[in-house]
Amino acid sequence: MTELYRLRSVTKRYGSNVAVDIDALTIDSGRLYTLTGANGAGKSTLLGILSFLLPPTTGELFYAGERIDWKSDSLMRCRRKVTLLHQSPYLFGGTVFRNVAYGLKARGIAGEATLRAVDRALETVGLEGFRDRDARELSGGEAQRAALARALALDPEVLLLDEPLANIDRETAVLLERVIASLPSRGTTVVMTTHDPDHPARLSGGSIVLDGGKVAPPRDPVPA
């Protein structure tokens, strides 16, 4: 395992409210981390920082040994290695294909390579044959799967998932959990927020617990 992220004295403030206040945190590559904590503990804010979308108020963030300069052009290069899947993902108007191919197109990938990547990603999440469907007409579970496919098509180094298993039916949740759990074996680092107390133990990865914006010692798993 090699160190992928290192946070040093990172804070994020919104006015007088301190959303995140982390002295030190490291995240290794190729592992699956569950990120837990009460509502308002700073989980989504931390994901925003890790996805390079939300600059911290103070502190330093290192990615693969490189100190992140939030104002430089290299930020885009780092951002393209990381994909964040929001809790309630937004699907662009148009077809499922347009959505899943979006990131590939942004990277200048087109033609047959796009088709293959889109089909593979859709197959991974069980949405074969959905390529030409209207994205806005998908059910909640299908939309969540399409959004995950959109992230997987990019084969990111890091996948950040904000409660990906909330608000979906059990069958879809089981499928997505299986897909997510398989990602570290492909070399993808996963950080997933969850409220399910069983996830840290079941997904057998690292655990990050946030309490009032600070990293707290991991809690013992709740006995089954």
Binding site: S51, L53, R79, T83, L84, F92, G93, A106, L154
Partner: protein
């Protein structure tokens, strides 16, 4: 009542017979309105999006000014335009006064604030997840904004249509900057004003029917877009 009914019937006959004066006025109206709408869109959409999507000092003041500009009477715009384009004005050497171009310029000034305000409202009402989603998928800032514009395209189109509606129905600018020259700068609205004052009520009514039909089509289209 008979007067209205007979005038209405005569108006329909004029429309049906494609009276050259009616056709000329309709053509001029559509031409200058389309021209003004294009320029108003080029001006208003970027301004509306810029104000709607960014935060800067005095933003509230800028929004208030844009709102105020929507309510400027057409004759005031005509007056200002006249001041600039008349022979003694700073742009008098261009010789644009009493030409269709002058009406297009005035119409642009009238419609641009409307287009900008509609575009601003669309940008403000856009789903806040669009840009972060585009960015996390690897889009640059420009592509992300382009994606947002694509997502709110019906709102933008509604802005353009509202601008067209404003220009096609106005009379002050067309009268003061166009001069109401028959077959050249006479629009539907200026023709209605002139012909009615001459007692040609049925002619005015014919153009009124065409104008109302255009306004109806524009508004039906606008309602359709706003429901999407």
């Amino acid at each position: 009542m008979d007067f209205l009914v007979s005038s209405f019937a005569a108006a329909l006959r004029l429309i049906g017979s494609f009276s050259p004066d009616v056709v000329d006025a309709v053509r001029t109206s559509l031409f200058v309105s389309a021209g003004a709408t294009v320029f108003a869109a080029l001006l208003g959409i970027p301004v509306g999006l810029l104000v709607g999507l960014s935060d800067f000092p005095l933003k509230r003041l800028v929004v208030t000014i844009l709102n105020t500009l929507m309510a400027v009477p057409t004759v005031v715009v005509g007056l200002l335009g006249y001041g600039f384009l008349s022979r003694q004005g700073p742009l008098g050497v261009l010789g644009l006064l009493f030409t269709p171009t002058a009406i297009v310029i005035g119409g642009t000034l009238l419609a641009a604030p409307i287009v900008a305000n509609y575009a601003l409202a669309s940008a403000r009402g856009a789903d806040p997840r669009i840009v972060p989603t585009a960015l996390t998928l690897g889009a640059g800032r420009l592509r992300a904004v382009g994606t947002l514009v694509g997502e709110i395209r019906f709102g933008i189109l509604a802005a353009v249509i509202a601008g067209f509606g404003r220009v096609v129905a106005e009379v002050g600018v067309a009268m003061m900057l166009g001069g109401n020259i028959r077959g050249y700068t006479r629009t539907m609205t200026t023709a209605i004003a002139l012909e009615t004052s001459k007692g040609e009520f049925s002619f005015g009514m014919a153009l009124g029917i065409v104008l109302m039909t255009i306004a109806l089509i524009v508004n039906l289209f606008l309602s359709f877009l706003q429901r999407r």
